[in-house]
């Protein structure tokens, strides 16, 4: 029996993204390709205009809402855990816990298993299925928060800080900057779980995706679009908007708003200060440092490829555990949460 080919001979990055040659598909390519497997609906992973797209049904729904007719020529959904044969390659999707519909891609070829995590987190999230570690030979991990200073606080700590602030400033609105897909809906769900049942006001750009989440069975409670509302009525209320709108003229319509930003970056004071945030909440849909190293341990892979983020520290750490760590330069990734 011939030795198994090392996976780097059949899966590697090129100018479009990470390509699996025997399967003839890319994973999260950053430009339009013939065949793509998409891990989740965020813009830097799910691009428009592909020929064939394979993803979870929720991710496909998200892509349809975002790109309409340009979501891809052939959209094929694959349920979590179901195996699909593509040429000599077997592909499965496993939950990633990042946002609704997010999945890791598990690729088997010649007895070797490569898992591409996409973006993930480990803690429970009321809006999506929880991450499942899949033992593998090579684990391709994200490293957005690949520095040991990033350790996200428990969700309920951050939610109670927000609610304490709402109570402390009854005359002011709390304007929360959130990423429109995932963070927005998760934060709403966490507020509801904490017993906050007042209406939450939404910037126009957030409405459609919240509606989609509700259609897909995520209960978000009373939401109100932010339009023609009287300034006075917003005192003591929670308003959500995309991060870019925080310091936009749009926010002048709010009564002396407390600007809040919910992101893993808020762990570092300088990042919060740069944004002029008054209440930084450490709340992220990405794994923090502890979750990254826990996951590397759980998947038992002897070799780890590290994609976008602060690879240096994580590669250094992986090396110190006796595993092989490699930075995988993928073009087209951005700091999410930004």
């Amino acid at each position: 029996m011939s030795p198994q080919p090392h996976p780097e001979t059949w899966i590697s990055p090129d100018t479009c993204g990470l390509y699996c040659a025997p399967g003839g598909f890319y994973i999260d390519p950053h430009r339009a390709v013939d065949s793509a497997i998409v891990t989740h609906g965020h813009g830097d992973h799910a691009r428009p205009g592909h020929g064939a797209v394979l993803a979870t049904s929720q991710t496909i729904d998200i892509m349809k809402v975002r790109y309409g007719g340009d979501a891809g020529a052939r959209l094929q959904s694959l349920a979590l855990g179901e195996a699909l044969r593509i040429n000599d390659v077997t592909v499965r999707l496993a939950p990633a816990g990042h946002i609704l519909g997010s999945a890791q891609v598990v690729i088997e070829y010649h007895g070797q298993t490569v898992v591409v995590s996409g973006d993930y987190k480990r803690r429970a999230d009321p809006t999506c299925a929880q991450f499942e570690p899949v033992p593998c030979d090579i684990f391709v991990t994200e490293a957005t928060f690949g520095l040991p200073v990033f350790r996200h606080e428990p969700d309920d700590t951050e939610i109670s800080r927000l609610l304490a602030s709402v109570a402390a400033f009854p005359d002011r609105a709390h304007l929360i900057g959130v990423y429109g897909l995932g963070k927005c809906q998760r934060l709403i769900a966490l507020l509801r779980a904490a017993g906050y049942d007042a209406p939450i006001w939404l910037h126009g750009a957030l409405v459609t995706l919240c509606e989609l989440y509700e259609q897909l069975g995520v209960v978000l409670g009373p939401l109100k679009p932010f339009a023609d509302v009287d300034r006075k009525d917003l005192a003591g209320q929670i308003v959500m908007a995309p991060p870019g709108a925080l310091r936009d003229r749009w926010s002048r319509r709010l009564p002396d708003p407390v600007t809040v930003f919910a992101s893993g970056w808020m762990r570092v004071r300088q990042r919060a200060r740069q944004r002029g945030v008054e209440l930084p909440l450490v709340l992220s849909d990405h794994a923090d440092w502890d979750e990254l190293i826990q996951t590397i341990d759980d998947v038992k892979a002897p070799e780890i490829w590290v994609t976008h983020g602060r690879e240096d520290a994580l590669v250094h750490y992986i090396g110190s555990t006796g595993r092989i760590g490699r930075a995988l330069a993928l073009v087209g990734r951005e700091d999410e949460d930004e």
Partner: protein, 527 residues
């Protein structure tokens, strides 16, 4: 400690005064004694620790975190204390965080070895925000944008009381201020400090704006020189005398020559100076006597201290502050005629017919240990703080010099990526008869954020050498530097040092050759 850390964290990110007041008031209402009292002491700057813990912390950190991961983290975060706070392992669920009062009590008198043990124990029990607050607290680097007065205002708001009442009591009280909070909550009577020798808040002046004199009637004002020393208050009773700085710090032990005089029962306002055989010495001489716990005989002989009196607040137990300036001045002169301690004299009133004649006198004041003129409304009562429309300070114009940028260093915190600390020099003739630059001072403010970006770019583009964090730039950028005075200094290569230098203007238009010479600076030294 947890609630206090949360408060500090919020304060640090809250820009508005009202927001800060609200947060502090909520905290004071919710926290029990003695925690809130220690918090008030810290927020009012009454607990300045500045402990040397750098070594202890780096040793504690080294046993917990890989050096390379620490380096990468420190580089990203930009602040060592914050990096340590974030990197430290999370506390066990069962760990009980220390209370603020406990931290303050156990820090008191701890030596270096004990300090390291305490820090480790506390860091193990606090969350990230708590660890950050603790490290900032012990290193004295707590900057949350709250003035002492603002913290007192928040406490006063609790009881619906004017902050002036709290200020008046303040120096008769001590942390953790149980009696103050009991009064503010209406549980007890106002603390009685009448039997204590305490600092009373000073009345301060506003700078005189251009053209402000046009609207004032000279007949309603008195004028006196503003002497170039430090403002002090003398409080004396039953043979005991105390000297307080303008912030209320007790500086008696550094000035026994003044305090030993026979002052009687009085509270006075004046300027502390060095006076040698009837002649006032420059500010630099007084500087030798400041910030000392005790003073040597030689110091007492070489730099004899003296107080020039401006005002009288109490005499024989009478509170005179509600009287007019004119009436208080009469009492001051009367008191001085009766007591007149050896190391004191009266600051003479400057008589003038019109503000024009006063302006002329003002223009001639340079070189007499005089900082400028004070103009005081004759009818003004002695009000704590900086009330509007009563007292004005008319400072003489600052000195200025065109200098050349020589070295730049990166700032810290918000400016950690910018070259924002500048050393500048003036030209002098070297031994070969050519011109060389010699450093004359350092400044890191006086420019806008946009200018900082331009300066940073200029520094990066014109670097000719580096020494550690310092960049040496080619001579090419002229700073017009403003400063209050200049004096001789052995510590500086140029032999002179500026007092309070700041960048007045960036002279992009001037070439380095056009900058001033060291001789010009030396000629400004006052003798």
């Amino acid at each position: 400690m947890r609630a206090f850390a949360q408060l500090l964290d919020r304060l640090a990110f809250t820009p508005s005064r009202n927001g800060k007041l609200r947060l502090m008031e909520i905290y004071f209402r919710a926290e029990p004694d003695p925690q809130r009292g220690w918090a008030l002491a810290i927020l009012t700057g009454g607990l300045d620790l500045k402990l040397q813990v750098r070594k202890a912390i780096s040793e504690l950190m080294a046993s917990r975190v890989d050096a390379e991961l620490f380096r990468l983290s420190r580089e990203y975060v930009g602040d060592t204390a914050e990096t340590v706070a974030l990197l430290w392992p999370a506390p066990a669920e069962s760990a009980e965080p220390p209370s603020l009062a406990q931290v303050v009590a156990e820090l008191d008198g701890a030596d270096a070895a004990a300090l390291a043990v305490l820090l480790e124990r506390w860091l193990n029990r606090l969350d990230a925000t708590g660890r950050w607050a603790l490290l900032k607290l012990v290193t004295g680097g707590l900057r949350v944008g709250v003035s002492s007065r603002l913290a007192k205002t928040a406490a006063a708001n609790m009881g619906g009381i004017d902050v002036a009442e709290v200020e008046e009591l303040w120096h008769g009280l001590a942390p953790p201020y149980r009696d103050l909070f009991a009064w503010l909550e209406g549980r007890e009577a106002k603390p009685d400090i009448s039997d204590r020798l305490v600092f009373r808040p000073l009345m301060l002046a506003h700078p005189l704006e251009d053209g402000a004199l046009d609207n004032l009637d000279p007949g309603e004002f008195a004028a006196e020189w503003k002497w170039d020393g430090i403002r002090v208050q003398v409080a004396s009773k039953s043979g005991e005398t105390r000297l307080f700085s303008r912030a209320g710090d007790d500086i008696t032990s550094a000035f026994p020559d003044v305090a030993d005089g026979n002052w009687g029962d009085v509270v006075l306002d004046g300027e502390l100076l060095v006076l040698r055989e009837g002649v006032l010495a420059p500010f630099n001489d007084l500087q030798q006597r400041l910030n000392r716990k005790s003073v040597s005989k030689k110091m007492l002989k070489d730099y004899p201290a003296h107080i020039r009196l401006y005002d009288i607040l109490f005499a024989q137990g009478d509170d005179l502050r509600a009287h007019s300036f004119t009436k208080r001045r009469d009492r001051l002169e009367h008191w001085f005629a009766c007591h007149g301690p050896e190391r004191a004299d009266l600051s003479e009133l400057v008589s003038f017919g019109s503000f024009e004649t006063l302006a002329e006198m003002w223009a001639q004041t340079r070189g007499k240990s005089i900082e400028g003129l004070m103009i005081k409304r004759k009818a003004s009562t002695y009000l704590a703080g900086r009330p509007k429309g009563h007292w004005f300070k008319w400072k003489r114009a600052p000195l200025s010099l065109d200098t050349v940028l020589m070295y730049a260093q990166r700032g810290s915190g918000k400016r950690s990526s910018f070259y924002s600390d500048y050393t500048f020099g003036a030209w002098r003739e070297n031994e070969e008869g050519g011109l060389e630059l010699v450093p004359v001072g350092k400044a890191y403010f006086g420019f806008t954020d946009e200018e900082l970006v331009q300066l940073d770019r200029w520094v990066r583009n014109n670097t000719v050498d580096r020494f550690g964090p310092v960049r040496v730039v080619k001579p090419g950028l002229v700073f017009e530097v403003a400063f209050d005075s200049v004096h001789r200094s052995r510590r500086h290569k140029s032999g002179v040092a500026m007092r309070f230098p700041r960048i007045h203007r960036i002279r992009w238009d001037k070439s380095a050759e056009e900058a001033d010479r060291l001789d010009g600076l030396v000629s400004l030294i006052e003798t």
